[in-house]
């Protein structure tokens, strides 16, 4: 509850800071301090210090799972701001509003990670989505950005419509938005419930860019300004996954035999399309867009498995994936040329950046001693734990092997090819934040319990 209120307030504060504060750095600093405050307040709530006790009538429950994920999301955003706040300012003239929109998105994230009522889920998803449409189109001088924004808006509205229809069908059958009462099923579920569940499944799959509802993702991620792609491909995607797993555990947990095969099919399709299409890309940014689909495929495994390991694993995965991807995008923003060839000879001219990027890529590829490896491991273990569909696990492992190809292309370009890539100015803060991110990736790869113990104590 702390974080929910504070993030909303911070959104308003940022909005006004655009009017009152004239210097860019002051606005940026307000945003960073606010972000840090948000993280601190959330951690305080985890340790029992709740500043506002509001009776939510059971519509929102801040349990450990939600709070821990919020902390991960806030920490990622904080690091993201350290890395990219200056680049956010370069996108357009309304930079204070961009920060405000980011805080509103975080507000939506706290809602979606802790909802108990479908209404709150819907509102949370919308609070996340609408600012994202704007951020995607924030580079107004760029036609591609505009196009991406419009596409995202149209397709996003479509999925919102599906979600609403699903909620309406479920309400029609159960007369309630409460997830617990939806889950109370004794006889065979009516067609309304099943249809509603499927519609919700489609809309959530759309939001996490799972195949076959992923079509928006490559175009939007590619067209949006790179700083915002970084944000929406990582923190936002992970948040929607948290909502996804929460929805299907709490509202449809008893219907598992109805949706588990569908989840498996969607997982396979997502892994396949994400990985295979990423292989052919020539632009690193577009490759990362497809890779985010591929990673979504792995995260889908947790929704499919829906057991204790899956939830733990999803938390670890969201941290590992967010850290690594934010880092890569931050480096990418500093590049002039987004193609693979643009990275040629990067290691010679920017050894530190190249080394950290390599760590991030290794983590995404799931190489041991990085967080990405353990995260994938947890996912596969969870999927094995269901005792069904062994082919799914085998397929996921094969696809993980395929992913090594395109991640290593970047490493190959950086280290084994000659070239002199032009790089924008790098600040010491940027470098240090990258090093911290890389250290976190490795630390979590060796001691995942640093994160996961928070889930239990």
């Amino acid at each position: 509850m702390n974080a929910l209120l504070l993030s909303a307030v911070l959104g308003v504060v940022m909005m006004f800071s655009g009017i009152w504060l004239k210097s860019k750095s002051a606005i940026r600093n307000v945003a960073i301090v606010g972000m840090a405050l948000l993280l601190v307040v959330n951690i305080l709530e985890m340790s029992g210090m709740i500043f506002f006790r509001i009776d939510t009538k059971g519509m929102i429950v801040f349990d450990r799972f939600a709070l821990l994920f919020d902390s991960i999301a806030f920490l990622s955003t904080l690091l993201y701001l350290f890395l990219s706040a200056q680049d956010i300012e370069k996108v357009g003239i309304n930079y204070a509003d961009y920060f405000a929109l980011i805080f509103f998105i975080l507000c939506g994230i706290t809602l979606t990670s802790s909802f108990k009522s479908l209404l709150i889920l819907f509102l949370g998803v919308e609070i996340i989505s609408i600012p994202l449409y704007i951020l995607t189109g924030s580079d107004k001088r760029n036609l591609k950005s505009n196009e991406a924004s419009l596409k995202y808006f149209l397709l996003g509205s479509f999925s919102t419509g599906l979600m609403l229809m699903g909620i309406a069908l479920i309400y029609g059958d159960k007369g309630s938005f409460d997830t617990n009462s939806i889950n109370l099923i004794t006889e065979t579920p009516s067609a309304l419930i099943v249809a509603g569940m499927l519609l919700l499944l489609f809309s959530m799959a759309f939001k996490v860019s799972a195949a076959p509802f992923h079509f928006w993702a490559p175009d939007v991620y590619d067209g949006a300004p790179t700083v915002f792609t970084s944000f929406m491909a990582t923190i936002v995607k992970a948040a929607v996954f948290i909502a996804f797993i929460r929805l299907f555990e709490e509202a449809f947990g008893n219907l598992q035999n109805k949706w588990q095969l569908l989840m498996a099919i969607i997982t396979v399709a997502t892994l396949f399309i994400g990985n295979i299409t990423a292989v052919f890309q020539q632009s690193v940014k577009r490759m990362l867009a497809y890779s985010s689909i591929a990673q979504a495929g792995f995260m889908m495994l947790s929704v499919y498995a829906m057991n204790a390991e899956a939830k733990e694993g999803l938390l670890l995965y969201s941290a590992a994936y967010s850290f690594a991807t934010i880092g890569i995008f931050a480096v990418l923003i500093k590049m002039k040329d987004y193609t693979f060839d643009g990275f040629n000879g990067f290691a010679k001219h920017q050894p530190l950046l190249a080394a950290t990027t390599t760590i991030f890529l290794l983590s995404l590829a799931g190489i041991p001693l990085t967080a990405g490896f353990l995260a994938k491991f947890y996912m596969l273990k969870a999927a094995l734990g269901t005792g069904k569909y062994l082919w799914l696990v085998i397929f996921a492992v094969i696809m993980a092997a395929v992913s090594v190809y395109y991640y290593f292309r970047v490493i190959q370009a950086m280290y084994f090819k000659e070239g002199d890539p032009p790089v924008l100015q790098i600040t010491p803060v940027f470098k240090w934040t990258l090093v911290i991110l890389a250290a976190l990736v490795i630390l979590l790869g060796i001691f995942p319990n640093l994160l996961l113990t928070w889930y239990y104590f």
Binding site: F202, V402, Y405
Partner: protein, 598 residues
């Protein structure tokens, strides 16, 4: 400076070893447990050292002889440039470390670590002059042959773990665990361990690497390939005596392999013309004797021979090194001769070494070899006769070597003749010390027949190696046997004197040629193992690799690429198509869902 550090640390180890020895002598054997090394399920392997009578004796031999050889090396290797010199000493010290680990370990795993370590050092030092390709091949050969043995050792370890779940000596040799093992298991484990030992200690059929290992610098041959590393196999079997004593089959295999190796190597040594090769085959032969002793249950006699052999064989190698040094790198004995006057100290020490190895009383070799022969006599009379024959061969080829090298006329070039000189003190002093040890070293194991309680070594080792209660030969018989063997040996020496005092070398024929070519064993191995394996490798490379693996891998790559291109086309960029595709897949999922339910 490098040399001082290199020798200093070994000297320090030696001093510590003496302290350990004194402690153990007072009856303070102990197992020092440092930390939990491997912890998997029920299996717990600790990093622990065992200091008892057997290991302390080996500690003394390794560090003592090791120190002398280090000192010798400073002078012998001084022509190397400083970097190479440092590399040499670092390998040598690493070897000492690994060897100490091997003998001090309190379980088979630690022993195995040391075992691999000494193998590595041996490989590195044989190939020390790595610019010579032949030497590299010799190093590879040594390493590969050792690996075959190591594999057997590892399997034995796993077998032990599988059957009784422990590898520490105290637990494996405890009565309860031994009772849990079936006799067939014990036989398999001991035979596998012996295969490992045969690799490391150069026994049939894995002995051919040792003569080639002479490619390394001579002090290395003295230390690793004569005095210490090659006795690791003896140590291992002596350590495992509790296991071996329970398997008569394994004991017989060990004894017969040892004896066969002893005779085979001795016959080859008869016709070798390289001074180091003769000593190498002699080492193989003597190791065979040690295994023979182990095989007939005379573990302490085997260990005794390890000790005396370390003294006189190290001495012989160092003296040979001194000869080579004097001759400016020449190793072919046909080009030597008459060196006794020019390098007197070397000559005298070499002579002492020859007497010791031939087993002429009262030199050290006499006592240890006699202990072995006596044990063999008690065990089996036929084996005794063959072993005695081997001892005579030993005396013959050693004195052949001595006479060819040191007596007669000089056969080398004039330049070598003028150049020939005695080695510096750093080389001769270790030789002199070893010579003294070769003379006196046998006194720790004087047989009962001469002195009551004279066999101090067996008594010392008794806590580790229980006394064998076998058939006891009467003292009269024992004396007669000693007299026979001593007289025969002296006779052989005299025979050699007449034969090789004035030598003419001619092309060998018949059996001589076969012996000169080492019974063609290397060629046989080449034909049976190396060539077919190479052929198989070539086949896999050309057929399997190219047409199956490559096509498979490339095919997968191409498939992915093709799929990627096709899938890319779905991403048309048009919102209408996207929505249509989404709706179509939604309908499909609905159909799937409602048909699953039915």
């Amino acid at each position: 400076m490098t040399g001082v550090i290199g020798c200093g640390v070994v000297l320090a180890s030696f001093v510590l070893s003496i302290m350990v020895f004194l402690q153990v002598k007072d009856g303070h054997s102990q197992v020092v447990d440092y930390f939990n090394f491997i912890n998997v399920g029920d299996l717990k392997i600790s990093f622990a050292f065992q200091l008892d009578q057997l290991s302390s004796l080996f500690l003394l031999i390794i560090t003592g002889v090791g120190f002398l050889i280090h000192v010798y090396s400073i002078s012998y290797m001084q022509e190397e440039n400083p970097g190479q010199f440092g590399r040499y000493f670092s390998f040598l010290n690493l070897f000492i470390f690994s060897m100490l680990l091997l003998v001090m370990g309190a379980n088979y795993v630690i022993m195995f670590i040391g075992w691999e370590g000494v193998g590595l050092c041996s490989y590195l030092l044989i190939g020390y002059w790595f610019k010579n390709n032949e030497f590299n091949k010799a190093a590879n050969k040594a390493f590969i042959m050792n690996r075959i043995g190591d594999l057997a050792f590892l399997i034995a370890l796993f077998w032990l773990i599988a059957k009784i779940g422990t590898v520490s000596y105290s637990e494996v040799f405890s009565a309860t665990n031994l009772a849990r093992l079936k006799s067939s298991d014990i036989t398999i484990i001991t035979l596998l361990l012996f295969t490992g030992a045969a690799g490391k200690s150069a026994q049939i059929p894995l002995y051919t690497w040792l003569p080639d290992a002479m490619a390394g610098p001579t002090p290395v041959s003295a230390l690793i390939h004569a005095a210490t590393m090659v006795t690791a196999g003896i140590y291992m079997i002596a350590r495992s005596n509790a296991l071996y004593s329970l398997s008569q089959i394994s004991m017989n295999v060990v004894a017969i392999t040892g004896l066969a190796t002893a005779i085979l190597a001795a016959t080859i040594a008869l016709k070798q013309n390289d001074i180091k090769k003769v000593l190498a085959y002699s080492t193989v032969s003597q190791l065979g004797y040690m295994f023979l002793a182990l095989g007939v249950g005379a573990y302490s006699a085997g260990v005794f021979h390890v000790m005396t052999h370390a003294f006189f064989k190290a001495l012989l190698f160092l003296a040979a090194g001194s000869v080579i040094h004097a001759m400016g790198g020449e190793q072919d004995i046909r080009k030597m001769g008459g060196l006794s006057k020019k390098i007197k100290i070397t000559y005298i020490t070499f002579l002492i070494g020859c007497i010791a190895i031939a087993g002429i009383p009262p030199f050290s070799g006499f006592f240890s070899k006699d202990a072995i022969l006596l044990a063999v006599f008690e065990h089996n009379k036929i084996l005794y006769v063959i072993a005695l024959l081997g001892a005579l061969l030993t005396a013959f080829y050693m004195f052949r070597l001595l006479f060819i090298v040191f007596t007669g006329a000089f056969r080398g070039t004039d330049e070598q003749k003028d150049h020939t000189h005695e080695s510096p003190g750093a080389m001769t002093i270790p030789m002199i010390i070893l010579a003294i040890l070769s003379v006196l070293g046998g006194l720790v194991g004087i047989p009962e027949v001469f002195m009551h309680g004279g066999d101090k070594l067996t008594a010392f080792l008794a806590p580790v190696i229980p006394l064998q209660a076998g058939e006891i030969v009467s003292h009269n018989t024992e004396l007669i046997l000693m007299a026979i063997s001593s007289l025969l040996v002296i006779g052989v020496v005299v025979f050699a004197w007449f034969l090789f005092r004035k030598t003419r070398f001619s092309e060998s024929k018949g059996l001589g040629k076969v012996l000169e070519n080492k019974w063609y064993v290397d060629e046989l191995y080449e034909k049976i193992f190396v060539k077919p394996l190479n052929k198989l490798g070539a086949f896999f490379n050309s057929v399997f690799e190219r047409s199956v693996i490559d096509d498979l891998v490339n095919g997968v790559g191409r498939l992915v690429n093709y799929g990627s291109r096709q899938l890319r086309l779905l991403q048309s960029g048009q919102v209408g198509s996207y929505v249509l595709l989404m709706v179509v897949s939604m309908v499909l999922i609905f159909i799937l869902q409602f048909f699953i339910r039915k």
